[in-house]
């Protein structure tokens, strides 16, 4: 029994330490953001590897989510002869929830893992120490460009995912399931609002920071050679995905107060 408490206590302490280290990294990064000179070259390279290289997978998932959601909505709406409601159902669900979450999780998996692995490798091969010994703060050189790049890329990727999801949903709904195209588009136009789009984009903007800080923390605190890098990579993906899903609920509730749906 005593042992159980000890274990529980140790777990809690570890969790608090973990949150502390992520929070410290976050505050360091934001502090550097204002004090350091911009690193255009590194930031551009990061936008390339985070944004451009993620585009195919994001578009692919976005398209298929739009298609399946269109089909599923149609199956239900068709029972009450409201086929054309599929249009707004697809566009609103995609903008507010599906595209932001799917895109963020894809990025957490693809980019979070890469960040943790890259920085983790640099850590175990003393490249992080080399940076510091040359009077360059790792946060400024490694974290801030990644932070800017992901905070910038993720909303853009999400917007593209929404767009392709709506388009592919339309194709499935109208061309495959024979929903009236004119009313599909009209109802979508009437019932979807700009705030549906930007609540989705605000959400992923927040998720971007979760991914970058959790993944970079894993990399910077990585220990124990190649095995440690592997562990850090897994942790980065799992932890940022969990953080995204949990934060999503609270951000959604908060946003509903600020921007009533």
């Amino acid at each position: 029994m005593e042992r159980l408490f000890q274990r529980f206590g140790a777990g809690t302490l570890r969790f608090v330490d973990y949150l502390g280290s992520v929070a410290t990294l976050t505050s360091e990064a934001f502090r550097s953001l204002v004090t350091m000179r911009p690193r255009w070259r590194e930031t551009t390279l990061q936008v390339y590897s985070i944004g451009v290289r993620s585009l195919p997978v994001v578009l692919l998932t976005g398209a298929f989510i739009g298609m399946v959601f269109s089909a599923q909505s149609y199956f239900q709406f068709h029972k009450v002869r409201m086929d054309t409601s599929t249009g707004p159902a697809v566009s609103i669900a995609l903008s507010r929830e599906l595209a932001p979450i799917i895109t963020s999780l894809m990025i957490a998996g693809r980019v979070g893992a890469a960040m943790a692995a890259e920085i983790g490798t640099m850590r175990v091969t003393e490249q992080i120490d080399a940076l510091r010994s040359m009077a360059v703060l790792p946060v400024e050189y490694l974290v801030v460009p990644r932070m800017i790049a992901i905070a910038f890329s993720l909303p853009l990727l999400t917007a593209m995912s929404i767009a392709i999801g709506i388009f592919s949903g339309y194709l499935v709904g109208v061309e495959v399931l024979n929903i009236d195209g004119a009313y599909y588009l009209h109802n979508m136009y009437i019932y979807t609002e700009d705030k549906d789009i930007y609540t989705g984009l605000i959400k992923v903007f927040i998720f971007a920071f979760l991914v970058v800080f959790i993944s970079c923390r894993e990399g910077l605190h990585c220990e124990g050679g190649a095995e440690g890098v592997g562990r850090a990579t897994t942790e980065a993906v799992v932890n940022s995905s969990i953080a995204i899903l949990i934060t999503n609920f609270f951000v959604t509730m908060l946003l509903s107060k600020i921007i009533p749906p």
Binding site: E126, Q127, D129, A130, R132, M134, A135, V136
Partner: protein, 249 residues
């Protein structure tokens, strides 16, 4: 002038440094020897400001760097060059950008001057014309040389070498040792070399200090160390394992 007083550090409750006292004069060449895992590299990292001690004082040019936060360490670090054990070159950058790294990062020179200085330090380490190679294309010894070039390009006053000859063939080790001597003599830099390679220690050390069980056991000229009456020192420099020493009794 580097002064270390009562430096202590432990990792996860295991003490590594247990009160190190050491002073290094300007432009001196000090070699720190000691068995694997005795904390030589840890000591070096403290001097480079990469680790914070649990207790003790570490003065560089009269200023205690222990209480300084990371950001305030940077001006001091710019005067200190470090050659890491595995050279720690940035994999994503080519040789030119690795060597020019600190100049580019700190905007210390115009692009033309940077190119000239890179060529100059590459010539010093005998790697002229290798600017466009990636670290992955280089051998261990070449990587060390590039690492050395990267460390000296900002003209540091103190050079720290972490196991500079480990993992190199004897010929390559010799050329690295020569480079350390050359830099020390040509630029009058203070050099601290951490190694367990006695050949290297005898060759580059003006003074040798032995770290044992978290403390400086002895310190003296290579000759004094050679003739030290202490059995621990004798066993180390002759390469006699503890088991064999115990058998000899």
């Amino acid at each position: 002038m580097i002064e270390i007083v009562g430096l202590k550090k432990s990792f996860a409750g295991i003490p590594v440094l247990q009160g190190v006292d050491l002073a290094v004069a300007d432009s001196e060449r000090l070699v720190i020897i000691g068995g694997s895992g005795c904390g030589k590299s840890v000591l070096l990292r403290h001097i480079a400001g990469l680790l914070k001690p649990d207790a003790g004082i570490l003065r560089i040019d009269g200023r205690d760097i222990v209480p300084l936060p990371e950001r305030d360490l940077n001006p001091i670090r710019q005067g200190v060059g470090v050659l890491f054990q595995g050279a720690a070159l940035f994999d994503s950058l080519d040789v030119f950008h690795n060597v020019a790294f600190s100049l580019i990062e700190h905007r210390a020179a115009a692009p033309k001057e940077i190119r000239e200085r890179v060529a100059e330090v590459l010539a010093v380490v005998g790697m002229s014309g290798q600017e466009n190679k990636k670290p992955a294309e280089l051998s261990g010894g070449m990587r060390k040389r590039i690492g050395l070039a990267r460390a000296i390009i900002s003209r540091p006053r103190i050079m720290l070498y972490d196991e500079p000859t480990t993992g190199l063939d004897p010929q390559m080790a010799d050329s690295i040792n020569r480079l350390i001597l050359k830099l020390s003599e040509n630029y009058r830099v203070t050099s601290i070399v951490v190694t367990h390679d006695m050949t290297s220690a005898q060759m580059v050390g003006e003074r040798i200090a032995m770290l044992h069980q978290g403390k400086i056991l002895v310190s003296g000229t290579p000759r004094e160390i050679q003739e030290s009456p202490q059995p621990i020192v004798q066993n180390f420099i002759r390469g006699i394992s503890e088991e064999r020493a115990a058998q000899r009794g």
